[in-house]
């Protein structure tokens, strides 16, 4: 069940470093209980956005709330409800896994690690500095899951991990949050540059590209909205029209076949639109798209728009 009060809400949140915009002003709402995938290439601004939300960086302008609190004033107490796991996070490497967990425990009144270490197959007596990358991420995740946070923020947690470890992490994460009771359950914000990693379990997705948010919505509406349309035209030599509806992306013509991506297939009358522009249209096929193909279509479309503007 998703609560109406969002877990995260950003309004015109903007960050620039010197003259460079790391993150263009963006609006974003992440509902409670969502598994929200923040995807984009390396350098798209995902980490900057996460650090702004967690008050690790201060915004240049705009503001955000996280679990109802202004992000700019998030302090120690707030992090009893927020867990953060990052690929680049420095950890007290001199501690063993056991010492790390024991050290953190008194900070959290809700600490309950149960058999987390066993489940994640973490060696208790090994120092963090001697752990492999995958093991480090497991230790970081264990230290977050143990206090049952309302919001888990993960920045590229699966980057560079082998598929087995990645699946184990995802499985543990999903198992643990499904055990959580309460009105809204645990919200997860997870960033990744690999769409396939998050497509299988995310309930919502947002695309960041070159510091700009292309869109953010639920997976259901997104996959319902996008269709890869193939139109077979009767009669050779048909010239495609010069103008298309705004929802048609990447139109291309090849012989008697015309292809495009419809970005609003759920609400717009696809077939009617096609037949209006292509009276000679024969077969019209509209196929569902994967997250990856949707993302590529959006990026390419934006690039071609930029080229036209330039």
């Amino acid at each position: 069940m998703i609560d109406s009060l969002p877990a995260i809400e950003a309004r015109q949140l903007h960050k620039s470093f010197a003259q460079t915009d790391a993150l263009a002003p963006l609006d974003l709402v992440i509902p409670r209980g969502a598994i929200f995938a923040l995807v984009g290439h390396n350098g798209a601004g995902k980490t900057t956005l996460i650090k702004l939300l967690l008050n690790i960086l201060q915004p240049t302008s705009g503001n955000a709330t996280v679990l109802g609190e202004p992000s700019a004033t998030l302090n120690g107490a707030a992090f009893t409800r927020i867990g953060y796991v990052s690929e680049n996070q420095e950890m007290p490497d001199w501690m063993t896994v056991r010492e790390f967990m024991d050290y953190l425990q008194p900070f959290y009144p809700t600490w309950d690690e149960a058999d987390l270490l066993d489940e994640l197959e973490l060696p208790r007596d090994r120092k963090l500095e001697h752990l492999s990358r995958g093991m480090r991420m497991k230790a970081a995740l264990a230290s977050v899951l143990a206090f049952r946070p309302s919001l888990i923020v993960m920045d590229e947690p699966f980057s560079g991990l082998d598929p087995l470890v990645r699946d184990q992490l995802i499985e543990t994460l999903l198992d643990r949050i499904s055990e959580e009771e309460g009105d809204a359950g645990t919200t997860i914000l997870i960033s990744s540059h690999d769409l396939a990693e998050v497509e299988s379990f995310a309930t919502h997705v947002a695309f960041l590209h070159q510091g700009r948010l292309l869109f953010a919505e639920s997976m259901d509406t997104l996959t319902a909205r996008f269709r890869e349309v193939t139109v077979t035209l009767d009669g050779a030599g048909t010239t495609p029209p010069m103008r298309f509806p705004a929802s048609w992306l990447m139109p291309e013509s090849s012989g008697s076949v015309f292809r495009f991506v419809h970005s609003n297939a759920e609400t717009e009358p696809l077939e009617e639109q096609v037949r209006e522009l292509f009276p000679q249209a024969g077969d019209i096929q509209a196929e569902p798209m994967t997250l990856r193909t949707i993302f590529l279509a959006l990026v390419k479309s934006r690039q071609s728009q930029n080229r036209r503007r330039a």
């Binding site: 120690g76 420095e90 007290p92």
Partner: protein, 489 residues
């Protein structure tokens, strides 16, 4: 508090090797330092080793402080602790607790050991131990602040080096531009408290906000302001405020106790042997026949200072307060060369103010000399087996030493058994400041050997209060009072 203790325990566990090394350094320091006290070893190698240990102490403090602060680094955006439920107050508390328990307390213990080892009583000396710890605390706070605004120890050292070089540069500049002058009353204490308060304030700001850039700006601005203020007070005649403070601290003397009198003679100043202290750049000495008199011939003055004004046609000069030797019948004033050469041939009027502390002798106390014997003001004197500059009596005190004490007694030549004569010397106290060795060793210059069984009389001088004397001089030509310096050879 619980969180502070939790973090503190973690820090202790992680920095155990460093703490063990610091402990070793302190133990070595505690063993080596007394070996170099007068009467013990005078090995050059040992002295070099002791100097090295003394140098390593602040280095160890810097390393420990930087390591402890960087355990939870405040600079950067990848530290794990910033997204954990750390309260900044607890974090800062844990770090300060570490400084107190792991650095200050052991250092204080070593200082106490020195006092006991010297045969002095610890109780009366605790105040000076705590004062020393306060100064060490200021040093530690400076290191802590620098570590709090830098991401790595190399940067902390670089920042410290730049600030130290800057500070030394200002001091060198001031030394070149100014003459020795007295510090207005309470300035040292006020500055110490201000600096400590400023460091604590900046630390709190940095821990509360982690706005490192802002903290750096405030730190640099404040340092520049402090330098500027120090420069203005020392190099320019921004003496208005300090003049008021000094006048307040040294009230006008009651008539009948002390006085100044101007007694010009026709012969002018006598020829004097030049000394280093008179060779101050851009200054011309003027020797005025002003005699100081005290109604009590046993009274002495301490920490005398002078300030004067020169008024001529369309001309006025007011000097800052500077130190004054009141041993002769004349007062030697230092006049800026530009002022002197402008008015030296013109009749000018002068007003001279002298400020000092009046000291009166307390009841004398006679003690019998042995190899090691107790003396007034909580001191201990020892007879040295090897003479230093012809003297063999060294008196030790805790803290900043005794009040000025006149020591009189029989001394013989090189060794005991020969003819004796009565000699006198004065043991002076020292000013406030940080001392790694709190035992003050004062060689009593009686000009011969003090022998076991002899009786020495100690007369401690107690303060009878501060006073100020003012005198208006009749019109005079400065050129007539310029002394004729002779070369020492």
């Amino acid at each position: 508090m619980n969180q502070s203790l939790h973090i503190f325990r973690k820090d202790i566990r992680h920095l155990t090797p460093e703490l063990a090394m610091y402990g070793g350094l302190l133990v070595t320091f505690a063993v080596v330092t007394p070996l170099l006290w007068p009467g013990a070893s005078d090995s050059e190698i040992l002295q070099m080793f002791a100097s090295l240990i003394t140098f390593l102490l602040p280095v160890a403090w810097l390393v420990l402080v930087t390591r402890i602060v960087h355990e939870e680094n405040l600079v950067g955006d990848q530290q794990f602790w910033v997204t954990r439920p750390y309260q900044w107050t607890s974090l800062l508390g844990a770090k300060l607790l570490f400084l107190a328990v792991c650095i200050l307390v052991p250092f204080g213990a070593v200082q106490s050991y020195f006092i006991l080892r010297a045969g002095l009583e610890l109780g009366p000396a605790l105040g000076s131990v705590f004062l020393n710890l306060f100064f060490v605390g200021i040093v530690l706070l400076s290191f802590t602040l620098l570590a709090a605004v830098t991401a790595a120890i190399s940067r902390t050292i670089l920042a410290l080096t730049i600030l130290t070089v800057g500070w030394a540069g200002v001091l060198v500049l001031l030394d070149k531009l100014t003459i020795p002058r007295i510090m207005p009353p309470f300035v040292f204490q006020t500055c110490s408290v201000l600096v400590a308060g400023l460091l604590v304030g900046l630390l709190i700001y940095q821990y509360a906000t982690r706005h490192t850039e802002h903290t750096w700006r405030i730190l640099l601005l404040t340092t520049a302001f402090y330098f500027g203020l120090y420069f203005c007070c020392s190099a320019t005649n921004l003496a208005g405020l300090s003049g008021v403070l000094i006048r307040q601290h040294y009230p006008l003397a009651k008539s009948g106790t002390v006085s100044l009198s101007f007694t010009p003679s026709s012969s002018g100043p006598v020829a004097r042997v030049a000394s280093g202290s008179t060779n101050i750049q851009e200054m011309e000495p003027v020797e005025l026949p002003i005699a100081y008199r005290d109604a009590d011939p046993t009274a002495r003055v301490q920490d005398a200072s002078v300030s004067f004004t020169i008024d001529g046609p369309d001309f006025h000069y007011a000097s800052p307060w500077h130190s004054l030797a009141m041993e002769s019948e004349d007062l030697i004033l230092l006049v800026p060369s530009s002022v002197f050469w402008r008015v030296q041939g013109t009749s000018v009027r002068m007003h001279v103010s002298v400020a000092a502390e009046r000291m009166l002798p307390g009841p004398p106390e006679t003690v019998k000399v042995s190899d090691r014997f107790r003396v007034p003001d909580g001191g201990v004197c020892v007879l040295l087996k090897r003479h230093i500059s012809g003297n063999n009596l060294s008196c030790w005190y805790a803290g900043h030493g005794p009040s000025p004490t006149r020591v009189t007694g029989p001394v013989s030549g090189e060794s005991c058994g020969g003819a004796t004569h009565t000699s006198a010397s004065v043991i002076h106290s020292l000013g406030s400041g940080l001392r790694v060795d709190p035992v003050i060793k004062s060689l009593v210059s009686l000009g011969g050997a003090v022998c076991p069984g002899a009786e020495l009389t100690f007369v401690p001088y107690r303060s009878a209060g501060n006073f100020r004397l003012e005198i208006d001089l009749p019109p005079l030509l400065l050129s007539q009072y310029k002394p004729h310096w002779l070369r020492p050879d």
